[in-house]
Each structure stands twice: as structure tokens, then as C-alpha cells.
């Protein structure tokens, strides 16, 4: 066929023509501009409006940022330097306040000789969370660990940590790195122990105090496991909790004191009032985040439970917390809590605030997770039932993994909210980095009237941390995606 056909055609081209360049208006930058910026009258108008807005912003801010001074000891000196360099009347940023008061923005009134302690705690935190956050990607995990270990160790050295402490921190980093590399499952034990270590290092005092608290948890866990082995999990749980409470109330403190007598191991205690700056924000934020997730899951399950009493109590709690502003809860923590506790009790203001922030976040978390639970097709619940799984087995193996995966954006949104809300502690007199700390620094004569620089600095740090959290949520969503769409 083709041969016959070929004979009838007088001319067949047997070489390719060189391809011609596309018309200039249809390719490259011109095409992109035409399509994305100038495709129609409305679009042109929008582009011009956008450019005008951008120009207004840049032309106002550029000189101010361009004239920035990083090296001065007071705002007056800053203004003098700017006037000398750029002439009288020139405005400019005085970021010297950040450089000069850096330690206060980061640590508040934490004693300077102990600055290495929060720094090491921060480095260790990465070792506690990296195996969980980056369990899939070895490269990512090690990048994060290496950067944070080197940075926090270097910071410890620069902040003048004593030799023994440096040795302990360095050895800890190396040991943990080895543990994560060679026994990744064991490394999770460190993640569980970390909060107690962090509390001890931040607040100081006897090492045996946190150990005694931990022992209470261990006691409860052991009794529960024992009960579960004999088929009485509920009874075991109740007994375990009772035993732990008894331990904490009666025996634990005495044992801790005795151990301290036998093997003295203590850090200089640090008052809660001296916490401030980003140390305070991170302490409250991280504690609130870590504790609100499990509490939120329990509340969400309680709200979806088919036991009417449990459900009603959960609904009441969640709706109450979600119905009032966080600021009123913080006022309750600072003013009213003394009414609710036995006469004479007085416990730490940071602890009170952490409890309130946790309860607040847990209620929101519960609603987010409830959305995830409700979004699961009912077939999943019925499938779990038909397999003969018990309630907790079904939740643990089938329902929660899927429900939590669906709710990741909401959960991380709540985390971000908690972290941003830590700034509200300023209204109960704590030294948050945004208002109270900045006000304190502005109250000194040298930095009177420095408004914008502290705001820009704290705002940038909050932005970086919150933005990183939301990007991580996107990464997690992609990683956990199992459907084929």
C-alpha cells in the first residue's frame, strides 16, 4: 500500500527542516508577562494596583531599613550615627537594641551564669523530637540533629558553661546520636524521659525530685500492666492511678530527699519569675503543645463515646473552654486559682499558666480530632467491630491513625495558635518577648522610644517558627498520603 502510494507522490522530503524559533510574542518572558500580568483590562488594572502598593511599601520602608545601625549602646547614639551618615532628619532602624539586649530577648532574667542550661535543653529537645518528626528521612534527621547539636554546644561554650557541664552535654549529644543511629526504638525512651530532664535543667534543684515524679508514673504503668495481664485492665488502671497519687503525695518527696542526701546531684535553683523572653514562650508553648495532643485525643474520644455521662461531661468541658477567651482563663489562673485550692497552697505561676494553656489547646484539639473521627466512613468503625476488636484496639489500630492523619492540618493549626497565644501571658505579669520584655527594655533610659525594632525582631522569630510548623504539616501530609489520587 505504502509503496504504491509512494510512487504516486512526486516529492517526499527526506530531511528534517530545522525548527524555527517560536514567535517572540508567544514564548519566553513576554508570553509569561502577557499571560500572568496583562491578559485583559481587569488584569492590567490589578497589576498596576499591585505595583503601586508594592512601591508604596518599599519606598517607605527601604530607607528606614537601609539606614539600619547594628552597633550602638543607646537609641541616642543610633540617631546620632544615622544623622552623621545620612544627614539631619534621616530616619533609620536601630537594630543595635537587638544586639545589645539579645540575651534578655532570649532568656529574660534567667541568671547569666546559667544561660547554658536552656541552651542545652533546646539542643536536647531536638534529639528528643527528631526521631519522631523525621522518622522517614535519615538525611533530614541527621541534618537537623547535627545542626542543633553543633549550634547548641557552641552556644554553651560561648555562654561560659562550666567544664563539667560542657563534658556532660557533649557526652550526652554523642551518646544520644549513637542511640538514635543504632537503636532507634530505644531512642524513643529518651523522648519520654526528656520532659523530666528539661524541667530539672531549667528550674534546677535536686535531680531526684523529677526522678521521684517519674517513678510515680512508672509505678502506675507497672500496676496497670500487671492488672491487664490478669484481665482486669480497668481495675489495674484505677489502682495504678491511686498508687501514683499516693506516691506523689506521701512517699515520693521523702524518698527524693533521702536520695539527695545519699547521692547529692543538684543544679542551682532558678525562680520561675526570672523566666522571660523566648525561653518563656518556648517553655509554655512546647509544654502546651506536647500535653494538649494526648489530652485532646482523649477528650475527642470521650465526646464521640456512646456512654452518655462521659459524652456530656466532655461536651460541657469543651464548650466551656472554647466559649471563653484565653485571657479570662489566664486571669482565672492568676487571680482565682487561690480560691479553688486548699488554703495555703501556692504553686508556681508558670505551671498554672501552662495548665491553662494546655486545657485551652486541648479543647480546640478535641474539636479538630472530632472532625477527623466524624470524617471517617462508618464502614471503618463497622469493619473494626466485625473483626472482633475491642474498643481500644479498634481506636489504636484502625480509627485513630486514619482520623489523626485527616486532622493534621487542623492539629498543626492549633499548635500554631497555642504558640502565638503564649504572648498573652504578658497580661498576668510574665515577661513574654513581645510586650512585657520589650516594655521593660524600653523603660530603660538608653532605649526609650525604640518601638519598631523589638516588634520586628519578635515578629520575625514568631513568623519563622510558625511558618516552619505549617510547612512541616504539609510535609507530613504528603508523607502519610496513602490514597492514589
Amino acid at each position: 500500500m505504502s509503496e504504491v502510494h509512494a510512487e504516486t507522490v512526486p516529492f517526499v522530503r527526506d530531511t528534517m527542516l530545522p525548527s524555527a524559533a517560536p514567535p517572540a510574542r508567544q514564548s519566553g518572558a513576554v508570553l509569561w508577562l502577557r499571560e500572568n500580568l496583562f491578559s485583559g483590562p481587569l488584569n492590567i488594572l490589578l497589576t498596576l494596583a499591585g505595583l503601586a502598593a508594592l512601591w508604596a511599601l518599599v519606598s517607605h520602608l527601604w530607607p528606614w531599613f537601609g539606614h539600619a545601625v547594628w552597633n550602638a549602646s543607646s537609641i541616642g547614639e543610633c540617631r546620632q550615627i544615622i544623622a552623621e551618615r545620612y544627614g539631619q532628619g534621616a530616619g533609620g532602624a536601630c537594630f543595635a537594641i537587638i544586639r545589645e539586649r539579645w540575651n534578655q530577648f532570649i532568656f529574660g532574667f534567667y541568671p547569666a551564669e546559667h544561660y547554658w542550661r536552656p541552651t542545652a535543653v533546646f539542643g536536647l529537645m531536638m534529639f528528643a523530637v527528631a526521631p519522631i518528626l523525621f522518622s522517614e528521612s535519615r538525611r533530614l534527621r541527621w541534618t537537623v540533629l547535627a545542626v542543633s547539636a553543633v549550634a547548641s554546644f557552641a552556644a554553651c561554650v560561648a555562654l561560659g558553661a562550666p567544664g563539667r557541664a560542657l563534658l556532660a552535654v557533649g557526652a550526652g549529644f554523642v551518646a544520644l546520636a549513637a542511640l538514635i543511629e543504632y537503636a532507634p526504638r530505644r531512642a524513643l525512651a529518651f523522648s519520654v524521659l526528656y520532659p523530666f530532664l528539661a524541667v530539672w535543667m531549667l528550674w534546677g534543684g535536686s535531680f531526684w525530685g523529677p526522678v521521684a515524679v517519674l517513678a510515680g508514673f512508672a509505678l502506675a504503668l507497672a500496676i496497670w500492666r500487671l492488672g491487664a495481664r490478669f484481665g482486669a485492665g480497668l481495675l489495674g488502671l484505677a489502682l495504678g492511678v491511686a498508687a501514683a497519687v499516693w506516691w506523689w503525695a506521701a512517699l515520693g518527696p521523702r524518698v527524693a530527699a533521702d536520695l539527695q542526701g545519699l547521692m547529692p546531684l543538684a543544679l542551682a535553683p532558678v525562680e520561675s519569675r526570672s523566666f522571660g523572653g523566648f525561653l518563656l514562650a518556648l517553655t509554655i508553648g512546647v509544654s502546651g503543645i506536647v500535653m494538649s495532643l494526648p489530652l485532646g485525643i482523649i477528650l475527642a474520644l470521650a465526646r464521640q463515646s456512646n456512654l452518655p455521662v462521659v459524652r456530656t461531661l466532655a461536651v460541657m468541658f469543651i464548650e466551656f473552654i472554647r466559649g471563653v477567651p484565653l485571657i479570662t482563663l489566664l486571669f482565672v489562673a492568676s487571680i482565682l486559682l487561690n480560691y479553688f485550692l486548699p488554703p495555703g497552697t501556692n504553686f508556681d505561676i508558670i505551671l498554672r499558666v501552662i495548665i491553662m494553656v494546655t486545657l485551652f489547646a486541648a479543647a480546640y484539639m478535641a474539636e479538630v480530632i472530632r472532625g477527623g473521627l466524624a470524617a471517617l466512613p462508618r464502614g471503618q468503625y463497622e469493619g473494626a467491630d466485625s473483626l472482633g476488636l475491642t474498643y481500644w484496639q479498634a481506636q489504636r489500630l484502625i480509627i485513630l491513625p486514619q482520623a489523626l492523619k485527616i486532622s493534621i492540618p487542623g492539629i498543626v493549626g492549633t499548635f500554631i495558635g497555642v504558640f502565638k497565644d503564649t504572648t498573652l501571658v504578658t497580661f498576668v505579669g510574665l515577661f513574654d518577648p513581645l510586650k512585657q520584655m520589650a516594655d521593660t527594655i524600653r523603660a530603660t533610659f538608653a532605649w526609650k522610644g525604640a518601638y519598631w525594632e523589638p516588634y520586628i525582631f519578635t515578629g520575625t522569630i514568631f513568623f519563622i517558627l510558625c511558618f516552619a510548623m505549617s510547612r512541616y504539616a504539609m510535609y507530613l501530609e504528603r508523607r502519610l498520603k496513602t490514597d492514589h489520587r
Partner: protein
């Protein structure tokens, strides 16, 4: 597996653990007892503590003279009014800033959300920057920054006057109608020349103009409803829908214009007299700052909600509607919007509630909201922390529960029916 329930079997003690029915009862009883004993412990402590401090639990202080002034009030109030009235002033201020904030945030959010999806690269990127920057930084920072902007950068009222040597003073913005100063923001006021005064409706003193406008708008709305029903009827019987939109527009516009004319309502722009602006309305900067910050912050969240809502309607829906022969406007009104709104409205309402609760950050700008009056000055003056806090939290809770209830009603109406 345990038997489903103890039907027909005599009750044994072990069934409390092994029988699902009895175990559920046991767990609930235990939880109930635990929670109740916790509550009893707290109440007992409170009673003891109050007795120890010689305090009583009594809301009677609400009817005492408050003795403090509130600079920003929607209802008549002075220092001789009661604490209850002060709380009312605070509540109304909270509701005012929240309602206006919700309005502005919605406008801003819808605009930003739609523009973020725009084909215009520059505008889409600018809106992305706006949304990300405002969402990822604490609201308190925005409040403080805008406050500093007003107190540090804005000119003093007298700076609007041209200087003696002829140099121009500061310029009013928006075609010379609004003058932001470092103490207040002067905006145009709505003035009625022929105000008929209050009339008595069902024993309540209500402003006659409000009544007139309400009646006119209600009537217009009823006629509009009837008009649409008639148009639908014509369409069903003849297949042609009469054009009614301009009648509806006139229905709403004419009474408003007519009544404004009747009462002589017009705008008075503020002008500088002496060292201050007069004629217009001088808004306290605390209010303006709070309103701006709340609107900008919540607007960023609403933009994301709107964007997600629009994206949630798959393209197939639009295409299918087009394939059925619908024109673009009916496609938007009948296919896309109802589905997008189902996704948008619930989180939108929860943002409104968040905004209302966030308005308690008025503490940072000194705007006299509910927390500043009832939970602030009243609390400090009377020393009644317990009562003030309970009342204040109760009010916030009530607002939130009422809105949630309305929300649930809406949700159950629009929910897709599953098994």
C-alpha cells in the same frame, strides 16, 4: 466475647467487668463520682477560702454606684450609674467592635481569598504574602504595631493646620474625609436635621428614624420575596422569567433615599476648629486600632477559608453544569456557590467567634470592653473577683453558645445525608 447484654441472666458481680452493658454503667458511675467529688472538693475549698477572707458570694454589688467613667459608651452612662450598667456598656462595646470587625474581616478575607486565586501572578503573590504574614504572627503584635503606628507616626490634630509660613499641614485621607491623629481618628458623622425624636413602641422608647428604616426595609424585603415568587411562577408557567432585579433594587433604594431626604440625613465631614477636629465623629484610637488589627488578622484566616471553599468545588461540577446548558451566572449561583458555602460557612462562623473572643485583647489598647469594665475596673474596685469573673466568662460563653447553636442548626440543614 462477652454477651451483648445481661438479658435473661441473673446479675453476678463479675458482670460489672465482663458484661458490656454493666461495664458501661460501671465506668459511667465511676467517672461521675470522680468528677462530682472533684467539683465538691473545689467548691468546698472555695467556701472555706471565702469564709477565711471574710468575703461573701453575692452579686448585689452590681446595683451599687460604679464611681468610674468610661470614655467610650453607646448608651448613656456616667460615674453615678451602677456596675451593672458599666458591664452593659462594656458588653455593647465588645459587641460593637466584634460586629464591625467581622464585617471588615469578611470583606477583606473574601477579597484576598479570591485575589489569591487570581490569574494575575503579582496580585496572587502579594495576597499570599499578606495571608502568611498575618496568620503566622501573634495578634497581640499586630495590635501593638498598629497602636505604635497611631501614637508615634500619626500627626497631632493641630498639625493638620497649614503652618504660618504657608507650608501645608498633614493631609486628611480618603478625599479629605478621615483624619487620623495621634489621639483620635476623626471620621464623618451621620447627622439628621429633622430628627423626630423617640417614639414609644410596646412601652419601649425607640428612635423614630430606626423604626421608620426598619419598617421600610422589612416591607421592601417582603415585596422582593413576593416578586421573586411571582417571577418563578411566570417562569414555571410560560418558560420565560421576567426581569426583576431593577425593581428589587429600586424597592430597597427608594425608601432609603426617601427617608433620608425626609429626615434630612447627611454626612458631616470633620474640620479643624482650634486645636481639635469638630463636626464629625472623633473615634477613640483604642477602638480604631483594635478594629483594624482584628480585621486584618481575621481577614487573613478568612481568606484561606474562602480559598479552600472555592477550590473544594471540583471543576467537573462547573463543566457538568455547563454541559446541562446553564449560563455562567446560574452556574455560580446554583452549582458552585451552594457547595462552596457549605464548606466556607462553618469555619467562617468559628472565625467570627474567635474574633469576638480576641476582642478581649482590648486590654492592650485601653478600649473599654467587657473585660475592661466588668473584669477590670469593677473587679478591682469592689474586690469581687469570683463574681466578676464568673459573670464575665458566663457572658462570653453565652455569646459563643448562641452563635454555635445557630451554626449547628445551619449545619444540620445543609449537611449531605449519609447513612
Amino acid at each position: 466475647m462477652a454477651p451483648a447484654s445481661g438479658a435473661g441472666q441473673p446479675f453476678r458481680l463479675s458482670m460489672l467487668i465482663h458484661d458490656r452493658h454493666y461495664r458501661a454503667l460501671l465506668i459511667q458511675a465511676l467517672v461521675f463520682i470522680l468528677v462530682m467529688s472533684l467539683a465538691a472538693w473545689l467548691v468546698n475549698n472555695t467556701v472555706q477560702n471565702l469564709a477565711r477572707m471574710g468575703k461573701t458570694f453575692d452579686f448585689g454589688f452590681l446595683f451599687n454606684r460604679s464611681g468610674y467613667d468610661i470614655p467610650f459608651s453607646l448608651i448613656p452612662y456616667d460615674s453615678n450609674s451602677t456596675h451593672l450598667r458599666a458591664a452593659m456598656v462594656g458588653l455593647l462595646n465588645t459587641l460593637l467592635v466584634s460586629a464591625l470587625g467581622c464585617l471588615f474581616a469578611t470583606i477583606l478575607g473574601v477579597l484576598a481569598g479570591v485575589l489569591r486565586l487570581s490569574r494575575n501572578w503579582l496580585v496572587a503573590k502579594l495576597m499570599t504574602v499578606y495571608v502568611e504574614v498575618f496568620r503566622n504572627v501573634p495578634l497581640l503584635l499586630w495590635i501593638l504595631v498598629i497602636l505604635a503606628l497611631f501614637t508615634e507616626v500619626m500627626p497631632a490634630p493641630r498639625d493638620y493646620r497649614p503652618a504660618a509660613d504657608g507650608a501645608a499641614g498633614a493631609q486628611m485621607i480618603l478625599f479629605g474625609t478621615i483624619a487620623p491623629t495621634n489621639r483620635y481618628t476623626a471620621i464623618p458623622a451621620v447627622v439628621a436635621e429633622r430628627d423626630p425624636g423617640p417614639v414609644s413602641v410596646l412601652g419601649l422608647q425607640v428612635d423614630a428614624m430606626v423604626v421608620a428604616f426598619a419598617v421600610a426595609l422589612l416591607a421592601a424585603w417582603l415585596i422582593h420575596r413576593w416578586l421573586r415568587a411571582w417571577a418563578q411562577y411566570r417562569q414555571d408557567t410560560t418558560g420565560r422569567r421576567p426581569v426583576t432585579w431593577w425593581i428589587s433594587l429600586l424597592l430597597f433604594l427608594l425608601p432609603i433615599l426617601g427617608l433620608s431626604r425626609l429626615f434630612g440625613i447627611h454626612l458631616v465631614t470633620p474640620e479643624l476648629r482650634g486645636f481639635n477636629f469638630a463636626g464629625g465623629l472623633n473615634l477613640d484610637n483604642g477602638f480604631v486600632v483594635l478594629l483594624l488589627a482584628l480585621s486584618l488578622y481575621t481577614g487573613a484566616f478568612i481568606a484561606e477559608i474562602v480559598r479552600a471553599g472555592i477550590l473544594s468545588v471540583s471543576r467537573g461540577q462547573t463543566e457538568a453544569a455547563a454541559a446541562l446548558g446553564l449560563r455562567p451566572r446560574p452556574i455560580m449561583a446554583l452549582v458552585v456557590l451552594p457547595q462552596a458555602l457549605r464548606v466556607i460557612i462553618p469555619p467562617l462562623i468559628s472565625q467570627f467567634l474567635n474574633l469576638t473572643k480576641n476582642s478581649s485583647l482590648a486590654i492592650a489598647v485601653g478600649y473599654p470592653d467587657l473585660r475592661a469594665t466588668l473584669g477590670g475596673t469593677t473587679l478591682n474596685q469592689t474586690g469581687r473577683e469570683m463574681e466578676s469573673m464568673i459573670l464575665m466568662m458566663g457572658i462570653y460563653l453565652a455569646i459563643s453558645l448562641i452563635v454555635s447553636a445557630a451554626m449547628n442548626l445551619y449545619n444540620s440543614r445543609v449537611r449531605l445525608k449519609e447513612r
